[in-house]
Symmetry: C2
Subunit: 177 residues, 2 copies
Amino acid sequence: MAGNSQMPKTAKSRAGLQPRFGRKQAGNGRSQGDVMDDEIALDALAGHAGYAVRRFQIWIFQDFIRTLGAVDIRPTQYSVLTVIGANPGLSQMAVAKRLGIERARLVHLLDSLEQRELVSRLRSATDRRSHALHLTARGRTALAQFRRLAAEHERHVAEKIGKENRERLLQILSAFT
Amino acid sequence: MAGNSQMPKTAKSRAGLQPRFGRKQAGNGRSQGDVMDDEIALDALAGHAGYAVRRFQIWIFQDFIRTLGAVDIRPTQYSVLTVIGANPGLSQMAVAKRLGIERARLVHLLDSLEQRELVSRLRSATDRRSHALHLTARGRTALAQFRRLAAEHERHVAEKIGKENRERLLQILSAFT
DNA sequence: CAACAATTGTTGTCGTCAACAACAATCTTC
DNA sequence: GAAGATTGTTGTTGACGACAACAATTGTTG
């Protein structure tokens, strides 16, 4: 869950969903389908939380990916690093459960993170089935940088919906974290 | 955008993300990774809007899929039907742009919807490149039922986060619809 | 009006992600 | 110790977004 979100690899420049005006001044006779975007009624959709949340989530992930683009870290990777950083020694199962990621999926995520030498899988002394996850030294310093960029992303969010709204949002959704 | 969201085909019964207690009373000596979920710190993640939004979006889509499971309608399909129903005669381009779906993706969505005889693609009289999208009679009555189920889903959302919070959320995110 | 550019629907490819299923190695439990 | 559960792993399926290319059909412009 923390993961998902199929974002564009190439972050789109057009950040937004701002209403677009203009485009062919609304003439008299408009044929089928020839309607300006803004005029297209959403109908019941406008009252659906899921629709709004979905579009917001897309925007926010795109901005995250763009903002952390230079360091090539996606939201899921960031969430994994953060949890491991805050809880060294966790098993893959524990991380997966905490973040709502499938353990099958976490395998690949960790493969990549381990290849980049940000995370290391140590064999657990007490349970030889499981791995104890740790950040490498490199991972720790890298995460510090990621955090700064993530904070910048969070400022973008605040700019987009308003500082107070962002906090209200976090409060409303606190049960889901 | 309206689309995306890879949901489980088989809606999970456990709706939630409620904190789970218990599981092996926290003994004294806990080894690596042997930590109760609730104790695992999220650290910076807790302050990230994207993380909360993502988990909420997953919950909400799962509930939508489960609630509309009997009629086999997913969020994206519902959004397409709603927009076509509210704006008969729209071209595929117009629908795609309005919902933020790729037109390539909409092709498949409409193929499925047309096969189920909920939507029909009529050749536009004015632009022979494009299709004028309409709901079939069957589609209109079906959509009415979908709407009732979607309203039920929306009530689940209200139960989950609170009636007032849901409305506050819709207001905060209104710019994204 | 004819050449060129843009749009529309379509097909296909690639990459991300969630859900499952199966498996070997390793605990746990009875 | 045998049966059952858990952990990490691999592989498959399906929804989805991004892209690229294409034919058919406008539009635009010299």
